[in-house]
């Protein structure tokens, strides 16, 4: 889709949203709507099941003749211990009622042809060929996890789907919800219903993302993996007992009640997944930002925190609108799960997100705000720009974490966004960096990796915090304006499509070239090669400063026909200062060095950062008293900031101040002991 066309659609959508007819939310589709779902389902709260019938239409987007459909049955990940999900997690659920599954009772085509017999579970990752990605080390899917998984099902079609043709399939299904696991299921009478219906995979025509030939892109459900789907139209009728309050990723179009039950008709346009929630306890708070209605579904004990949530959503809406692109839907719903359903917290379904908070949590601890901003951000990075979360998780989690950092620090303070107490505080950008480096092996594996390829304990730091820190570093290098331009272009070009990492980097390089700012070269491939595709560690250091009297360069010199001897004498009032720099990591980035002389003069030097050891030498009457690598603290990827500076005579004041504090602390502890003495 051409960017100008997209913007026209978005503008029209924003203008008419809220005034829309009872039938549609947006005046025109924002995506090709390759898939369209009509689902009619009923929740049985006692049996913890959702049963119903769905009709799905799939339009073949390729030039291929397609003879099979592939569906995800995500809940089968919780069916037994042999699923890929639970095998990888090495844990299961305990009681019989805790397990979950999706049973397809029948499947037939629009023309009535029965397909049920054609269903077979497949394990696409069993035959996975190494991705044509630039992985430093191509890793196949772990072999021991193959074989018994039932989270993907294939159905062979008697009448193949021709290019640009549409197939309609009607499925009767029953989904038994698990005790909340991986953001779906039930806990007591709280239901968060995600990944609950047979969902089509994405058919990638040749040339799309990394596809060399057309085919279905599905993966078994894996613990770290999230989802990948086409932007779709959803028309969903949900029947629940009367007393349940329901929220979903769709817009409520109609509600009818009879016999102690009610049926809610939702419609959602151009979203990648449809999830919903039901609970007897929800209390609803509503707010609005421009034409976007904000609905917060809170636990009664958290209701007083409604404003905290809605403020966070409004900050995010405003910031994304100003720096990336418009939010096209006229509504967003935030769900606050109960404590006993916290497993559903912190999840994104584009227009429906889950947050998480605690009773009486001080306003200075901005966990609820951070989660809300983060999950809302996924409306852009995965919702609108629908990357494959299983194959390239950094592309939504990492980029979205970067935006979360920016929004949080902008809204709640650079050094106080996450924790804002007067004497202990931390911002979101610095929190991301600290969290990433806090891991034992921050650079063990590349960030660009499939979600199942991360060794134990590395996924979070490598997929969320490291790329956020990498992009924060990039922002400080190229400037925030340039970053905004990059993301605006990325949005314009890839909204409601499926970008890959190479598409993102291509946009970055284009913007760099268009701006003509070649400070870091004509492209930034070298940057991503090191810190996204590679595991380079960045650490520059000022090793020391050596000052000595400047000396005449003595020796024998040719003067006319004779050699003249010149003594190596000290030059009066001149000093030779050597600033000794080193590169301790394998990462290379051009870096600035600030050198300070004893007369207070400061000069800024540039170093390409390539040599392992590098000296700056000055012969002048002033002595160098201090030097600092990266004085603007642009390189947040630098793993050790302590060695970035060196002063010949370091100030004793910080030590004095903190020793005085420490003395006071020790005295107070000692005196507090007197209470029991």
């Amino acid at each position: 889709m051409k960017s100008i066309h997209l913007f026209f659609l978005l503008a029209a959508a924003l203008f008419t949203a809220g005034k829309g007819s009872a039938q549609v939310i947006l005046p025109s589709p924002l995506s090709p709507r390759i898939t369209q779902y009509q689902i009619n389902a009923e929740l049985n709260p006692d049996k913890k099941t959702v049963s119903g019938e769905m009709t799905v239409q799939w339009k073949n987007p390729s030039r291929d003749t397609v003879s099979e459909l592939q569906f995800h049955l995500y809940l089968n990940a919780f069916k037994n211990g042999r699923s890929t999900f639970l095998s990888a997690r090495r844990s299961g659920l305990s009681e019989e009622k805790d397990w979950g599954y999706t049973d397809i009772i029948s499947m037939k085509t629009g023309s009535g042809e029965l397909l049920t017999d054609q269903l077979r579970f497949i394990q696409p990752d069993e035959t996975i060929s190494p991705f044509p990605l630039r992985l430093p080390e191509e890793k196949p899917f772990p072999q021991e996890l193959y074989g018994k998984d039932q989270s993907v099902v294939s159905v062979r079609l008697t009448n193949p789907v021709l290019p640009d043709s549409t197939v309609t399939v009607t499925i009767q299904f029953t989904s038994k919800l698990p005790k909340i696991t991986a953001r779906t299921g039930y806990s007591k009478d709280f239901f968060f219903v995600g990944q609950w219906f047979p969902k089509l995979g994405v058919y990638e025509p040749a040339g799309m993302r990394y596809a060399r030939k057309g085919g279905w892109n599905t993966h078994q459900f894996y613990p770290n993996a999230e989802f990948y789907a086409n932007h779709s139209l959803y028309k969903v009728d949900l029947t629940v007992p009367d007393e349940y309050v329901v929220g979903s990723g769709g817009q409520l179009m109609k509600e009818t009640a009879s016999g102690g039950k009610k049926t809610l008709s939702f419609r959602a346009e151009d979203i990648v997944d449809f999830a919903w929630t039901a609970s007897k306890d929800f209390q609803i708070a509503e707010d609005q930002w421009k034409n976007v209605k904000i609905k917060i579904m809170l636990q009664p004990e958290h209701f007083y925190q409604a404003e905290r949530h809605s403020k966070a959503v409004k900050y995010a809406l405003e910031y994304f609108d100003a720096h990336v692109g418009p939010y096209p839907w006229p509504y967003v719903t935030v769900v606050d799960p109960p404590t006993y359903g916290q497993g559903a917290g912190g999840m994104e379904y584009t227009t429906l997100i889950t947050a998480g908070t605690f009773y009486l949590i001080p306003e200075q601890i901005r966990m609820a705000e951070m989660v809300t901003v983060h999950e809302f951000g996924h409306a852009y990075f995965m919702g609108i720009l629908a990357n494959n979360e299983a194959e390239e998780p950094w592309l939504d989690e990492g980029i979205n974490s970067y935006w979360e950092n920016r929004i949080m620090d902008w809204a709640y303070g650079e050094k106080t966004a996450m924790l804002g107490f007067p004497f202990v505080h931390v911002g979101d950008v610095e929190f991301a960096r600290i969290s990433w480096l806090g891991g034992l092996t921050p650079n063990l594996v590349p960030t660009f990796n499939n979600s199942w390829s991360f060794p134990r304990g590395t996924y979070g730091a490598t997929v969320y915090q490291k790329p956020a820190t990498m992009l924060n570093t990039l922002e400080r290098m190229v400037g925030q304006e340039c970053m905004d331009e990059i993301f605006r272009k990325y949005y314009e070009r890839w909204a409601f499509r499926h970008p890959s990492t190479k598409d993102f980097i291509r946009v970055v390089n284009e913007v760099i070239r268009e701006r003509g700012d070649y400070k870091y070269g004509p492209d930034l491939d070298w940057f991503f090669d090191q810190f996204l595709y590679g595991t380079a560690a960045l650490d520059y250091s000022v090793e020391g400063i050596r000052v000595s009297p400047a000396m005449e360069k003595g020796g024998l010199y040719d003067e006319s026909s004779e050699k003249t001897f010149l003594e190596t004498d000290r030059i009066e009032d001149r000093f030779r200062s050597v600033v000794m720099l080193s590169r301790k990591g394998d990462g290379i980035v051009p870096v600035e060095i600030r050198v300070r002389f004893d007369n207070g003069e400061e000069i800024l030097e540039n170093w390409d950062g390539k040599d392992k050891v590098f000296d700056l030498i000055y012969e002048r009457k002033e002595r160098v008293v201090a030097a600092m690598v990266d004085p603007g603290q642009k390189l947040l990827l630098d793993s050790n900031l302590l060695n970035n500076s060196f002063a010949v005579k370091p100030s004793a004041k910080p030590a004095l101040k903190w020793a005085a504090r420490f003395l006071f602390l020790v005295e107070n502890i000692m005196h507090s002991l007197s209470l029991i003495v």
Binding site: S187, K188, Q299, E301, P338, T339, Y340, F358, Y359, L360, K415, L419, P422, F423, V424, H425, V426, G427, E430, R433, I434, L437, G438, G544, A626, M628, N640, L641, L642, N643, N644, S645, F646, A647, V648, P650, S651, A652, K653, P654, A655, L656, K657, W658, A659, A660, F662, L663, F664, V666, E667, N668, I669, M670, H671, L673, S674, L675, I676, V677
Partner: protein, 294 residues
Amino acid sequence: MKTISAYIHGAKTAWRSLRLTLFIYLSYLGIALLIAIPFFGLFRSATGNSELADGLMKGFDATIIREILVSKGQMFRVFIQGLFPWLIGFALLQVYLTGGIYSKIASPGGRSNVSGFHKSSIRFFWRFLKLTVYFLIIHILLGLILYLPYLIITGVHTNLTDKQVVVPFLILLTSHLVILNFIFTWSDLVKSAIYEQDSRKVFKGIFRCLKMALRNFFRLYLLGILLALAPAAAAAAYYLLRSGVTVDTTGLIMLFLLIQQMFIMLRVFFRIWRLSAVYRFYLSAINPIFGHGM
């Protein structure tokens, strides 16, 4: 009236004991300096020639603290672990000095001399140490009684809301503070009894004084509250003062060091006030001459 007169008497005695306050403060300061001076050296050595720590002049900075701890955290860990024996030593010094404090507050007109102070300190050291151990056990038992059922219930019942977890905890915490006020005053009452009666029967003294404390519950409890007010007010005043100022120059560092030390000295003053007030309360409870009778 007994409560108020004991409270005022305590304040007067503490006011007359400024030299003792200074002496005790300096003893504590000596120990604290023995810990703080190496910390100063450690901090300087940890930051070396780096200018990063200069950022800490503006106040707390999570990034800078992280950098220092990651680079030199082991040094700090060893140092902090080494503090434990010092705290034990300090607790023993407190026990030791308590006997001396009583010699001062019990003497007519608040007069005593150095040798009398130390004689009393030595005389009552073991008794007060025993008492400390007994009360430590009481504190542990109280903690178990209050929190163990809570921990078991909240651990077993996973279907509780956070409000159902937080509210009982806050109730328990408040109850704990309420009970602590009684226990601290009771403990000071036992010290008064041991000193006044020169008794070696510490364990018995605890129960006798418990009876006395329960008989005079409201008056003694009120005294405990009154004695907590001044330290709380001083702490609040310090907090307000501290939170309004960025200590970023040598002059301000020195000024706040002075204020902090005055605060610590005030804590010594409050301790003498407390012991003296409870001692007076004890005397009035056993002998109406000192108050308005029981």
